[in-house]
Amino acid sequence: MINLRIDAQTTDAVATPSQNGQTDAILMTRSLNFWYGSAYVLEDVNCDVRPREVTAIIGPSGCGKSTFLRCFNRMNELIPTARLEGSVVFRNRDIYDRAVDPVEVRRQVGMVFQKPNPFPKSIYDNVAYGPRVNGYKGDMDEIVETSLKRAALWDEVKDDLKKSGLALSGGQQQRLCIARALAVQPDVLLMDEPCSALDPIATTRIEDLIRELREQLTIIIVTHNMQQAARISDRTAFFTVAESGAGVLVEFNDTQKLFTTPTDPRTEAYITGRFG
């Protein structure tokens, strides 16, 4: 099988250096293969994610985008039959090493899900959940306020922090989930199609938020929406389904380059809408 992936290292040479000049990857996958039971889901994925950038993951349904995303915070292992080979390196440490505690990984690599999933608790308790389970000893009110501000939700809910998180609108719920993730102060935020359940206005607000958060942390976002990837991401990874039935990384490049001058015919077919 031919694997037409473009190695991140080679694209770095041509890529324009990012704002702060950092090129060292914060997250890397090496020869990452993944199975659910006997289903082959990801095939030999090598991918470098740079810090303080927004990396978008696009591709047709069933290409393993979400599974790939979930490899970064070991969420996949909650499914009993999941099996992973290869390595995922976070800050020079293989997070699948036996000595690594997945709980610690998830504290540093936060996640926002496709469907807003606030706990059936108050807004305050939703945001405070993460710091509490992580044994945060400082001023809880302050961390709740800061997190809600960072998620651009504070002004809408500041008088009503005791209200149930479920009473908010869909877009507000998703921002609450972002605030909840930020309260743990992660370095990386994984977002699994965070806008797919939202209306266009709520989507715009989340996208604005992603652009702001980009200054402070690394974001990896799976999206079905190519325009969204083009609007918010610095670099884009295109996945598709290989002949083996597993997802492969076809092309990974600066977002602008990937959308204007794709090097792989499969990428071109996908972004011009001929497939997927």
Binding site: M75, V103, E104, R106, R107, F113, N117, P120, Y129, V133
Partner: protein
């Protein structure tokens, strides 16, 4: 009909050999649909009749209960019945205060709940959140076996096995005592408690668990701070149904708890529950039609009202927790 004729001609032209022209015969399909309609209606009628049977039975029971109960309250004032603390309808000096029976019923039910709720809830949490699939498929059937044991067996288990142990530990324990009946009843309702709680725990959406895991919560923190609070109303419903079951349980108390209507909370003494009293009168030589005999209908009605209220309460709770995620 035009279609039907043109289709077989078109098919060879398109090069497909297989054809099924029968589907276009209108007369046959009309007969088929008539038959189908009759079968539909027949099934509908049979199902309706079956449902009707249970409604009629319930109505019949309620009417019988109420008729006799009203007659009973014609002779005994309802206030005396509900507030009196002496229950001696079978003696020469009759007294119709039902409270000793209610007291016995509640005390036995409480003991059963103290046994069943913690063990049942922890079992449910283990099965739904911690047990590997293989272990789960081993434990569940064992629980179901526990649920299938006849209550008379539980009764003798209480009398012949648990009571002697209690008497070894607390020598003042009476042969018939509340503790042994209550404990064994707890094990009898354990499977129900566990299974309803497990359903409630499993109904907590996976999203919520994942959300908590993604924040760096351990499995225990996910269970204790998200899953159990999320399933709380379902768990409460399980508790209430268990209480209701304990109140209505007859055989164990009739065998192991004794037949002495008494007030108080001494678990090592004998007490009579409402159900045990009904058994006592039904099986004994109490003449039918007298006031003594009618007491069982009054007690039965009270029991019916108590369990009905419990079931309505749990229904309400279950509905509320369903709404929580929708």
């Amino acid at each position: 009909m035009d279609n039907a004729r043109s289709l077989p001609r078109a098919q060879p032209a398109a090069g497909t050999a297989a054809s099924e022209p029968g589907g276009f015969d209108l007369t046959r399909s009309r007969r088929d649909s008539l038959r189908r309609k009759l079968v539909e209606r027949g099934v509908h009628a049979i199902l309706f009749l079956c449902a009707l049977i249970s409604v009629l039975t319930t109505t019949g029971i309620v009417i019988t209960l109420l008729g006799e109960t009203i007659q009973f309250f014609g002779e005994v004032p309802i206030v005396d019945f509900l507030t009196g603390t002496r229950w001696t309808p079978l003696f020469a000096s009759k007294s119709f205060g039902v409270l000793p029976l209610v007291n016995g019923t509640i005390v036995v039910a409480l003991v059963a709940i103290v046994v069943a709720v913690p063990i049942g809830l922890l079992t449910a949490i283990f099965l739904s959140e911690f047990a590997p699939t293989r272990l789960r498929s081993l434990v569940k059937p064992v629980l179901e076996v526990l649920a299938g044991i006849p209550t008379v067996v539980y009764g003798y288990f209480a009398l012949q096995f648990v009571t002697p142990i209690l008497r070894d530990i607390f020598p003042q324990t009476q042969i018939f005592n509340v503790a042994s009946a209550g404990i064994v009843m707890g094990f009898m309702i354990l499977p129900m408690m566990a299974s309803i709680s497990e359903d409630a725990l499993r109904a907590v959406p996976r999203d919520l668990r994942e959300g908590a895991f993604a924040l760096g919560a351990t499995r225990f923190e996910v269970v204790s701070r998200v899953v159990v609070p999320g399933a709380l109303s379902g768990i409460l419903a399980a508790v209430i149904l268990s209480i209701s079951r304990a109140i209505g349980e007859t055989m164990i108390v009739a065998i192991a708890a004794g037949l002495q209507p008494q007030m108080g909370f001494d678990l090592l003494r004998s007490m009579e529950t409402m159900t045990a009293y009904i058994v006592q009168v039904s099986l004994g030589d109490t003449p039918q039609g007298g006031i003594e005999f009618r007491t069982i209908f009054a007690v039965g009605t009270l029991l019916f009202v108590m369990t009905l209220v419990m079931n309505l309460l749990s229904d309400l709770l279950v509905r509320r927790y369903r709404e929580a995620y929708e």
